[in-house]
């Protein structure tokens, strides 16, 4: 059932995003042409560049507007009469909205990066690529070990979970707004601000606790056996070690917040549903 929900959720949102993607990529190609064939930027070149920037901003506004609209309008307004009459579990409804929102955020980021590459693309750049790859592999071979690779994936994972958490916080706030009879949208805004403050306070307390634990368990000035000869290499090693110590606890608390928001949203929509 989740698969089917995803299929219809993608279909309902794709018709909003695809035209914008098309326009952005088209403008990127136009910009590239103006860069490569005009020595002095003329009015048309400036205009397409401006349009491009405006569209990129609009795209990221659109992602969030669609994310909120699909949850609020499709589940809690008139269309909710259809969605909640489907023989699916509430968590599947929430998950389908969440997964598709994250998917569009990722695709929007990808399209933006791609459009920058398209604008910057030229034959000179193409010639530079083998040299760049050689230097990159050199760098990777000399300076990047298991620890750095793990750190990289920790960061990627943190970004993913952080994004999921921020979407779920919006869902939770809208659901809290649904608990009251009147002024539901206003309550949702209030709930969002309230949740942000609570999250900030808990995070601060949590990190002061983590700091204390570290103070007691790790001897000052050493995160391993790097005391011999103190060069830039060792400094980098130590820096990576310190980053692990920040990223991992951040990951843990972000996961906890996400789970709490999901459970809260699911509880309200399953047990406190009152469609207008």
């Amino acid at each position: 059932m989740l698969k089917k929900l995803l299929k219809y959720e993608i279909r309902a949102t794709a018709r909003l995003f695809l035209p914008v993607f098309g326009a952005i990529l088209l403008l990127a190609i136009l910009n590239n042409i103006f860069f490569n064939f005009n020595d002095i930027p003329d009015f048309a070149a400036v205009l397409t560049m401006m349009l491009y920037v405006i569209l990129i901003i609009a795209l990221f506004v659109l992602v969030y507007v669609v994310m909120i609209q699909r949850f609020y309008k499709n589940l809690l307004r008139d269309e909710g009469y259809l969605m909640f009459t489907l023989p699916v579990r509430t968590w599947q409804l929430i998950a389908s909205k969440l997964i598709v929102s994250i998917m569009w955020l990722a695709i929007c980021t990808f399209v933006t990066v791609l459009s920058v590459f398209i604008m910057a693309f030229s034959l000179d750049l193409l010639r530079e690529i083998p040299e760049f790859l050689r230097q990159l592999s050199d760098f990777l071979a000399h300076y990047v070990g298991i620890s750095e690779v793990t750190l990289f994936f920790e960061f990627v994972f943190l970004m993913l979970i952080g994004t999921i958490g921020s979407v779920l916080m919006i869902y939770a706030a809208i659901s809290i707004g649904h608990l009251v009879g009147k002024h539901r949208v206003l309550t949702a805004f209030g709930a969002y601000i309230g949740l942000s403050i609570v999250e900030q306070i808990i995070t601060n307390l949590y990190f002061s606790l983590v700091g204390r634990i570290y103070d007691h368990t790790i001897p000052y000035g050493s995160y391993g056996a790097y005391q011999f000869g103190y060069g830039a290499y060792d400094f980098a090693r130590e820096f990576v070690g310190a980053m692990h110590m920040i990223v991992i606890p951040t990951l843990i608390i972000t996961v906890i917040f996400s789970v709490v928001y999901f459970i809260l949203t699911n509880y309200i929509l399953s047990h406190r549903l009152n469609l207008e």
Binding site: Y8, L82, T85, L86, P87, K182, L273, N274
Partner: protein, 233 residues
Amino acid sequence: MDTILECHGLTKFYGSGVCALNQINLNVGRGRIVGLLGPNGSGKSTFMKLAYGLLTPSLGDLSIAGFPVGPDTKEVVSYLPERTYLNDWMKVRDLIAFFRDFYTNFNEAKAYDMLSRLNINPNDRLKTMSKGTKEKVQLILVMSREAQLYLLDEPIGGVDPAARDYILNTILGNYNENATIIISTHLITDIEQVLEDVIFISRGEIIMVSSVDQIREEKGMSVDALFREVFRC
């Protein structure tokens, strides 16, 4: 009597302290066509929405086919709300595919057949349709499911009288004999001919449950006449 819907002490307060339903006890049997009749604001829609789980009861419990209202009962109940709940950018054809995908008991051929009889083009979008046509599409989608209980909330309000007859015949002709239909409406004359039982509801309380034959025999009047007498302003 084999029961399809059963509720005990069912009560619903809205946020502002308004009591929409007060201590409702009700048993509805299988294979009946039941009219849920009452003036505006008497709690008809609230009852329907509770029976489908779109509202959470304040007190009391409600079960359908022996299960408490929830994901298990959604498969056996087909519900027509009093409002347009379909998004307007999909074509009728896409909506049929949507219903077929989610409901295992959806009969696609029946839906297309009813569409063609009511002259509705499956390639039209809801956006371009009149209010009455949208209502017809919704009713067709809901009645094309082979459910055990149909909850129809004001199903013919916006439909012209000519199509009303066809729709009522469709309701009668197209459903399984063991299924129960609960129709809420205040257009009693139009619907009286098809009803077998009636429930009169007023200000959140049930004031009478009876079969139509009983009303005719004992009181010697039509349901419409009785309704006018009971709810005289």
